[in-house]
């Protein structure tokens, strides 16, 4: 009740009190006191960025997976499962390594061409 009342009251008050200032072009610009916007608001990016974005996601996931792995690493050591926990991560990193080599060799990381 109070929250709704407050919201409605402020809205009404702003209608009643606001908009008294004169409007002009500078007032209506998106950033009144900042840099003057130059160019379009939705510039076109090179399509090459999508490859970078994709590779970023892949290696981002790698780190996301490594983090909980590193956290539970000591527990597994305590339970004498060191080999299992080591090889499971090695397998994962190995697969990603092949993917990385693939991306490198196919020129996904070179900006030119």
């Amino acid at each position: 009740m109070i929250a709704t009342g407050f919201a409605v009251t402020t809205l009404l008050l702003s209608v009643a009190l606001g908009k008294s200032a004169r409007r002009n072009k500078i007032k209506d610009s998106p950033y009144e006191c900042g840099m003057l916007p130059i160019g379009e608001s939705q510039p076109r990016f090179s399509v090459k960025f999508y490859l970078v974005a994709m590779l970023f996601v892949i290696f981002d996931i790698e780190v996301v997976f490594m983090y909980p792995w590193a956290l539970t690493f000591r527990d597994f050591l305590a339970r004498d499962q060191a080999a299992m926990v080591f090889w499971s991560m090695s397998g994962f990193v190995g697969i990603l390594l092949v993917a990385y080599l693939y991306a490198l060799k196919k020129g996904a990381l070179s900006w030119e061409s």
Binding site: G91, G94, I95, V98, L101, Y102, K105, K106
Partner: protein
Amino acid sequence: MLPYYLEICVVVLGSLMLCMELFAGRRSRAKIAMVGVAGLGVIFALLMFAVCSPGEDLQYWGIYHFDKWAAFYKGLALISTLLVLVMAREFAPVFKHYTSQDEEKSGIGEFYCLPIFVCSGLMWMASAKDLVTIFVSLELVTMGFYVLVAFMRRNVGSLEAGVKYLILGALSTGFLVYGIAWTFGVSGTFNLEELSVVLAGDDIPSAPVMFAFALLIAGIGFKIAVVPFQIWVPDVYQGAAMPVTAYLSVASKAAGFIVFLRVVDPFLAAPSIREPAIYLMVFVTCATLIYGNLAAIAQKNIKRLLAYSSIAHAGFLLMALPALGAAGTIAGPGPESAISFYLAGYLLMTLLCFLVLTVVRVATNGEDLTALEGLGKRSPFLAFAMLVGVASLAGIPLTVGFFGKFFLFNIAIQNAMQNGLWIVVFLAVLGAATGFYYYFKIIRAMYWEGSVSEGEVTGLKVGRLAMLAIILLVVAVFFFGIFPAPLLGLTL
């Protein structure tokens, strides 16, 4: 040897092939497909001989199971991937025509590697008895197919198929996840064995369970192409490259069915929802049988025809499902065995047809029924192989397709005698009869239509490996059509 080493071997094989594609020279790069075929052969041998006997039911960490079904469907996945690689090698000229003549830019190496990774996903699906594992392995398979379907990048049809498969596949994944969430919400478990215990209890509310069941059916039904989730099938089958179409219709369907069987089982075993669940299944079965068979009649494109026939076959397979959980009351092989046998037979005959079609496609550049005209004169061997495959699809005696249908009808009729669901049997008989008509359209085109002038009578070029595969498949279709026991024994 532990069973899950098989999947590791497959992934290692795929990575090895990818590294070959990267680092090897021009000449050894041409052998990537051969390395894949040989590697899969070795892994299949390991599955047959090195892995512990499937009599025992093993499980690891509660997410990976190895029983006779898992072994059987892993075998199906390996064999179909192997044959698809053989087919892809035959298909290479057409593939390069739609990508690039340059060996490296065409991406043909990746085209050989991707099915291997899909295969590892299919093998995981065969072992998954946990909703999360099912979801992850299903996604592994589907992701691979998204790329494979759209691989011929200069072919509009292939791109269209890719977009359709991507959008509808993502949608069906959404349904599946929602269904898994509801199942977990009702039962508090992802494990299917625990789920069957929970669902068998008395205090389970039936409405949310039914909702979860319907969502799961929608999600998996998309993969195995049953009505009303079949809308993508004709377009995707038509647009995708020939080996990919074959792979979709065989391997994706087989792995989808084992998951389907495992997911449906706990729901049908629950007394509170068994009745409505069966009526839902019967509705889906009837719709699939009618739609698949009737829509196939008018098709002129062979891939489209086989797409509708694949829907129809899904209908026949679903026929056995209502008998699930009542296995003791049915004489002859139970529903799981009948379905597995049918899927193995379906693999043999469908891949046989697609192998022949691939050869014809490369030679004549056509995918319509007219491309097959006069094949009986141009290449009697290929025409005979196609005849065997098509006859088996129609279910003519002495072929493996006959026994597949026989076991399924056996179950459906006994089931109908118990609970009066004669409508399924009626529609299936009608569908099988319709099947004769549209399959014989292919045979008619090969032997009775089209005139071949003397100059044209030259045998079509068939690669040695493809030739061997065709011969083996023809022999297998006949062998299991006369002695079904060895194959059936694996599934019992």
